[in-house]
Subunit: 110 residues, 2 copies
DNA sequence: TTGACAGGTAAGCGACTGCTTACGCATAAT
DNA sequence: ATTATGCGTAAGCAGTCGCTTACCTGTCAA
């Protein structure tokens, strides 16, 4: 598998903070500079920087320098880990529904 | 806003801890008592209890009493929040792939 | 050059996490 | 009625998180 070497931080932990999720959401629309991102939040710009660092360490974003700006870019590939983990539960859910259905089909018993 | 009333804790934060994810994974197989779950971990049983509490507050598990036991049961419905959040990124990913494909198609002479 | 702007990093601090041990309270077994 | 078992809760504590302010470097503009 693709054991991403850039994942110094747990992806699950990275998306555990609502502010970081919102940052990712912002980056869906377009790449954005730090100050642009910070414009959407109440917290200070350094705080935003620190959150972006976490996302960077988790491999969820990349940064690219443009002059004195740094554009942050969404890198959703590493979300695959989460996707796959969730998928396990889809199967459980389906299985559960199947059992329920069988149970209902059978049952007039009480 | 739309949040289920049993969600006192952020589901994303709840699955942010690896131990809690492993607990959910265990519960896929079957409902289990606290001591049974604790058997799979190095930490103390109260620590496990506390993790289970977080999962309970997030609505990811339910508990059912059997005599002096408490069986914890997986409740994957609340994972839907995560699933849906992730799905947004699937679309972004698809879009990204489409662009990549076009790009590759152009350079296909070789 | 001087200044303004973009943004990372350090230091400090209160709040929260995650763990432990000690305890309490049911329920089951004897 | 004791004793043992299952498990939650309280208290305490070290470590981490999330935020702030202060500072620093690097780039653009005049």
């Amino acid at each position: 598998m693709v054991a991403a070497p850039e994942s110094k931080t747990d992806v699950f932990a990275a998306i555990g903070h609502p502010a970081r999720r919102r940052m990712l959401d912002l980056l869906i629309v377009s790449d954005q500079s730090v100050t642009a991102i910070a414009g959407h939040f109440e917290m200070s710009r350094p705080a935003v920087s620190q959150h972006l660092r976490v996302l960077l360490d988790a491999g969820l974003v990349t940064e690219q320098r443009f002059g004195r700006e740094r554009r942050y870019h969404l890198e959703p590939a590493n979300l695959t880990l989460v996707r796959e983990w969730i998928r396990t539960y889809d199967q459980f859910w389906d299985h559960h529904l199947q059992k329920l259905q069988k149970h209902l089909a059978k049952g007039k018993k009480k």
